[in-house]
Amino acid sequence: MSKEYSSLISELREKLESCSSQHDLSNIKSHYLGKKGIISNEFLKLRTALPEERKLLGGKLNALKDEAQKLILGKVSELSASEDFNEKIDVSLPGSNISLGSRHPVNLTINRIIDILRNYGFETVDGFEIEDEFHNFDALNIPASHPARDMHDTFYVSDNKLLRTHTSSVQIRSMLSSCPPLRIMTPGKVYRSDSDPTHSPMFHQIEGLCIDKNINFCHLKSLLSTFIIELFGRDMDIRFRPSYFPFTEPSAELDIKFNGKWLEVLGCGMVHPNVLSNVKIDSKKYSGFAFGLGIERLAMLQYGITDLRMFYENDLSFLSQFKGLK
């Protein structure tokens, strides 16, 4: 390094020595190496230099520039090792593209029930929503003159075709098409001509059916008690009380105690021998039980929903409350 420039270099060394931030460093860099920096100014001398001196001066200046660059670069890596140069990130800002949808609370509830019952050997079966009177009523021991048909205010689409009033019609079709033993569950939409804050003309049900040799009422009680515990995830006060359905005998209803009050959650019973004989199953050889429950009612209990109509208004502010549920 030539004499006239060595002082420049040592000055640079001193400055770099005391520099401790990225900001200062970039100032130093532009002070020496910038377009109008000290070293660039020195290069301007080349223009006025005599041709025979130009080569020598050029060599000196290049050496100066190399040295300055080397020093500054050294400082850059030194600083980057000790300090983070990157802009500090704000971890509290929202993540990008947050988007999660969800299943409908009615289907969430159906899927939960299916998951529980599958462990007890029940298979999901789907069926027609537009049914005939045989599968929806007659085969289920509900003849035309029966007062129980009043319990089902039925929508008709033709003389004989109707919107199923329960999913039991699917059970009839299953029993007709396969032989016992049988464990099935039938979730789906059902329709009754009823509309007020607690009734909707369309709602969802799931029904279960178990047919085998030696199936009895104590099996029914055991399955449904465990089912309720698994569904609610805790021990519940439950009671069975006698009820009436044309397709079961004996018939029962299961109530749970919720906030100090008994609420009925499902109907059940031993499959009526007339139903078994309607589907050509020998009721001396086989017996079975069936149960059915309304999904909306259960979903309302589970999520604290107070108005049934919320399920079909499909307000996104309502639906997005069920994100991440399984």
Binding site: N107, Y120, E123, P147, R183, S195, C218, E249, M270
Partner: protein, 673 residues
């Protein structure tokens, strides 16, 4: 049904624990809906199941509780009826009535105020007061379960005839309506015409009032089905029809008349009464029905051994007549139990009294039945994937407003609900689109305009042969902004390719083909979705008329997938991964505008050139100036790799020239780079 607690206790004797009594009702299947306490009494509201006609009276309910309190319930005090005469009844059609009894009282003072103990109980039970004799009849009906009717004898013309109505006959009923009767309606008539729709309601013309001085009281057994028919036809559910259509004990008719005399006599002296009864089929204490069963049937169905003595005692208290010989049981059914006909009915009677909650629980035996519903599981996988891409699941009604689907299908294939609950739910949907557009509109108007929704459901169509088909459809709609919470990217309004991207991420091997055939989609933006060679759905923008019909101004994209036709990813078999480097090549070509990018990519893929493992479009460029209106420039990126060695430039160059040759030949492409 509302009953008074004190009244019930009169039949059961000295019961101290009211709460326990009420709990017993529910445990017996007579579900207590509510209990309202008043000063001296309580009203118990029971939710009666339709099979329990025998419990539509205080006496009947007490009888049902009798095995629990081990107390036989007997009839209240009954006066003796005078000898049967042959007057006042002209005829009884035996199809209508098997027992038709009347009681005639002359010199009767109906201006008497109803005694307080009667009127109080009627009020508790929710029965309005009319006048003395009507109130007494209602009281006896509540007490023992026999509905009765009273005529003002002075208003009747001639004897009573129990018959079907004649064509065109009219009746002005007590509820103030006039009905024109059809010939399948049973009536009680005099010479002037129908004076009552049998078992349902009486006529204004022969009704009793405070000034009535002589009365004819009718107490009968009517055919259940006929009463049900009339009540349903004229929508008349009266206390009387309610009981008759469920079944009234045929042995009660005369007892009820005797009870009426006893009650009336406590307040007003009856000098003389006339009694007549026409019995077309004699009733007996039992229904002449015997149920034969094995004692072991109880355990077979209930799962628990119940002591024989308990079974016999229970049935006896309830009025059955059980006879046990060795292990066989023969039970005769009392005339008030229409609901009992098979062994299982008897089993339920015993189980009710035993207490459902006292049975133990026996775990269901394990099974090796399959529980796998493949199509349902597959569908659920797609639905879960859609929701993880931000879609919310909705459920809309399967029925739609009248005439709202003209765009979708011809009227022939549409299915109407014959008795809709309202005009806006009167035809079955043939497409999912209406419900989804309605949902979109609802949310947009509630300031939720960023919409990504889907629904799984059925559509319903009538086929040419009149049969009905139901199809499972997965459909959805997107609208509004694509990125809502993102500081780095600007809000982006969704477009067709956002929808396509979502679908392609979820369903394997989808192809989209431009189409114009669907009337409810816009002509400029609609595509048929195929998986392999099979058409599995549709997507695009709704037609202008749908935008208008629903009053939606925001841009919307719709899709529908015929979910049962869609295949899940094929069975996965592991393929070895290459450890050798990939070579990337770009190819820019000029092709005619009408050649779809998909076609070019797919045909190269189908040709399966050596070493080529991937291909994608990396750029597309239109320039009127450079290559005119009918051409576009597209750049495709091709990736080459081999499993066994590092590829050399020559390997790739060879393939590239084959590909270029193919493109030039197939698509008239001009290579630009």
């Amino acid at each position: 049904m509302k009953i008074s607690l004190n009244w019930l206790k009169e039949f059961l004797g000295n019961i101290k624990n009211n709460d326990q009594l009420i709990a017993r009702l529910t445990s017996m299947g007579l579900e207590v809906d509510s209990v309202t306490k008043s000063k001296k009494d309580s009203v118990i509201d029971i939710d009666m199941t339709p099979n329990r006609a025998d419990c539509l009276s205080v006496m009947g309910i007490a009888r049902d509780l009798s095995p629990i309190y081990k107390k036989k319930v007997s009839m209240p005090k009954v006066a003796k009826l005078s000898t049967k005469t042959k007057s006042y009844i002209k005829g009884v059609n035996k199809k209508i009535s098997t027992v038709y009894s009347i009681l005639v009282i002359e010199d009767f003072d109906n201006s008497l105020a109803t005694p307080k103990n009667i009127s109080d109980r009627l009020e508790l039970c929710g029965i309005s007061q009319i006048n003395f004799i009507v109130d007494v009849l209602n009281y006896v009906m509540l007490e023992i379960g026999q509905p009765m009717h009273v005529f003002d004898k002075d208003k009747l013309n001639g004897d009573l005839d129990v018959r079907f109505a004649k064509k065109g006959e009219k009746i002005n009923t007590l509820d103030g309506n006039e009905y024109i009767l059809s010939t399948d309606i049973p009536v009680i008539s005099d010479n002037n015409g129908p004076q009552a729709i049998a078992g349902v309601i009486g006529s204004n013309n022969s009704s009793v009032g405070g000034d009535t001085r002589s009365i004819v009281i009718e107490s009968a057994f009517f055919n259940q089905n006929l009463i049900r028919k009339s009540a349903k036809k004229y929508r008349l559910q009266t206390e009387s029809s309610y009981r008759f259509e469920r079944g009234v004990d045929p042995n009660l008719s005369d007892l009820a008349l005797g009870r009426v005399i006893d009650v009336v006599s406590q307040y007003s002296k009856i000098k003389k009464h006339t009694y007549n009864s026409v019995v077309t089929k004699p009733a007996s204490p039992h229904l002449n029905k015997y149920i034969k069963m094995d004692m072991s049937d109880f355990e077979r169905i209930l799962g628990e051994k119940i002591p024989n003595k308990f079974i016999i005692d229970t049935l006896s208290y309830l009025g059955f007549n059980p006879v046990m010989v060795k292990n066989k049981l023969k039970v005769s059914v009392p005339s008030h139990r229409f609901d009992i006909s098979i062994p299982e009915d008897i089993i339920e009677e015993v189980a009710r009294v035993y207490g459902y909650n006292n049975f133990s629980e026996i775990p269901l035996p394990p099974t090796n039945l399959s529980t796998n519903n493949i199509s349902r599981n597959n569908t659920n996988i797609f639905l879960d994937l859609l929701s993880s891409r931000g879609y919310l699941e909705v459920i809309t009604f399967s029925f739609l407003p009248k005439d709202s689907q003209e765009l979708f299908l011809s009227n022939k294939s549409k299915i109407d609900v014959l008795n809709p609950i309202s005009e806006d739910k009167s035809e079955m949907r043939v497409s999912m689109m209406n419900g989804l557009l309605k949902t979109a509109k609802y949310n947009i108007s509630r300031q939720n305009s960023d919409i990504k929704i889907f629904e799984i459901g059925k559509t319903y169509k009538k086929q040419k042969d009149k049969s009905i088909s139901e199809e499972n459809i997965l459909a959805g709609i997107i609208s509004g902004a694509n990125y809502s919470h993102n500081l780095k990217q600007l809000q982006k309004i969704i477009d067709f390719h956002d929808l396509k991207g979502d679908l392609m991420s979820i369903f394997p091997n989808l192809f989209f083909k431009e189409s114009k055939n669907t009337s409810y989609l816009s002509n400029s933006c609609q595509a048929v979705i195929a998986q392999g060679k099979k058409t599995v759905g549709l997507c695009g923008e709704p037609s202008l008329s749908l935008y208008k019909q629903f009053g939606i101004k925001n841009k919307i994209f719709y899709f529908e997938i015929y979910i049962d036709l869609v295949k899940l990813n094929q069975k996965v078999t592991y393929k070895p991964i290459s450890v050798y480097p990939k070579i990337f090549r770009d190819l820019t070509l000029l092709v005619n505008n009408n050649i779809s990018c998909d076609d070019i990519i797919n045909s190269i893929q189908r040709k399966s050139f050596n070493y080529m493992i991937n291909i994608r479009i990396s750029d597309i460029f239109y320039s009127k100036k450079d290559f005119g209106n009918d051409k576009k420039s597209m750049t495709i990126e091709l990736v080459f790799q081999d499993n066994s060695r590092t590829l050399q430039d020559d390997d790739v160059n060879g393939q590239m020239s084959k590909i270029i040759g193919f493109l030039e030949k197939e698509f008239n492409a001009v290579i630009r780079n």
